[in-house]
């Protein structure tokens, strides 16, 4: 869903850049002094994983492909603010080194995939988690559903920007974007749940805010 140069109008890109810059500034402020020695390398590895996983385009119906986004995954693992910073890092490298996503559209791409996808997805995840009884099943259900929502919501934001730019009418571009990304979102849900499940087995402490951790003695510790 990386928007290239030329798809969006100047005012839309400028407005998206302003919103993104404010959100990233807030994320820096919120995260400043926060990462401890454990979390800093985790941010790096999370960015490396998201970058690598985003390259794996999987074919879907209709001659189209989709790939992992990872914004919700980063938000669950690192918290929403550090998650946004990881997404911005990945998106900036993709734009400057790999010409994936235009330089003029970088604010729009950060807004759609980092902020709408990451923050919106995390908000949905917390909301769903609050509705469900506390259990591993609920955690994965909320993660999967929110992962699907994060991709679909990002595609809605992208469609709105395309329509506001006069590139394609909303009545055409909105259903088209939602249609294809609702399918890609299923892949997002599967990959997010698989990655979280692997982490819950290898480093359960990283998900202790959401999943009960079994201690050395076999006792279950829960963090509030």
């Amino acid at each position: 869903m990386h928007i290239p140069d030329g798809f969006l109008s100047g005012p839309v890109n400028l407005a998206a850049f302003a919103v993104s810059a404010a959100a990233v500034g807030l994320a820096v402020k919120k995260t400043n002094g926060d990462p401890n020695e454990k979390e800093v390398p985790l941010m790096g590895v999370c960015a490396a994983f998201i970058f690598a996983a985003q390259m794996l385009n999987f074919p879907i119906a209709g001659g189209t492909s989709g790939h992992f986004l990872g914004a919700l995954f980063a938000a669950i693992l690192l918290g929403p603010w550090a998650g946004i910073l990881v997404m911005v890092t990945v998106l900036a490298i993709q734009c400057l080194i790999f010409s994936d996503g235009g330089l003029t559209a970088v604010g729009s791409n950060v807004l759609n995939m980092g902020i709408v996808g990451g923050f919106g997805g995390f908000w949905a995840f917390r909301f769903l988690l609050g509705l469900l009884p506390r259990s591993p099943k609920s955690f994965y259900a909320a993660s999967g559903l929110a992962a699907w929502l994060s991709v679909t919501a990002a595609s809605v934001a992208c469609a709105l920007e395309l329509a506001w730019s006069g590139t394609s009418p909303l009545r055409i571009v909105l259903p088209a974007m939602i249609g294809v990304h609702a399918v890609i979102g299923v892949g997002e849900a599967v990959i997010t749940c698989c990655a979280l499940s692997a982490i819950s087995k290898l480093r359960p402490d990283l998900l202790s805010a959401y999943l009960p951790v079994r201690g050395e003695s076999g006792a279950i510790h829960e963090q509030a």
């Binding site: 869903m1 790096g44 970058f51 385009n57 189209t64 910073l85 080194i97």
Partner: protein, 100 residues
């Protein structure tokens, strides 16, 4: 090496392996937005990039003859670069750095 460190290094090597060995076989079909742009006739608007100096345009190193090598080099470099950049960012924002 303790368990957290083993996890971090394994996750990094896993990501690197995905980028180097699996990404060359990724689907080359257009992605969701590209497909919508093709179908609804605005894909030609996005053909000129504003940034002229990408090192690996379209996730390809252009120097080897083998396309798989080109994709593997680009993917591996990007993965390490993304990891390094986010690690530096985290380091700059970390507690110890602020205390200094």
């Amino acid at each position: 090496m303790n368990r957290p460190k083993i996890f971090l290094w394994s996750a990094l090597f896993f990501s690197l392996a995905v980028a180097v060995f699996i990404s060359p076989f990724a689907s080359s079909r257009p992605d969701g937005l590209e497909k919508v742009a093709e179908t609804h006739g605005f894909s030609e608007k996005g053909e000129t990039a504003a940034w002229r100096f990408p090192v690996f345009p379209d996730y390809e190193w252009k120097s080897a003859r083998n396309p798989f090598v080109n994709a593997a080099v680009a993917g591996g470099s990007g993965t390490l670069l993304a990891g390094l950049a986010a690690w530096i960012l985290g380091k700059l924002l970390s507690k110890r750095n602020r205390a200094r």
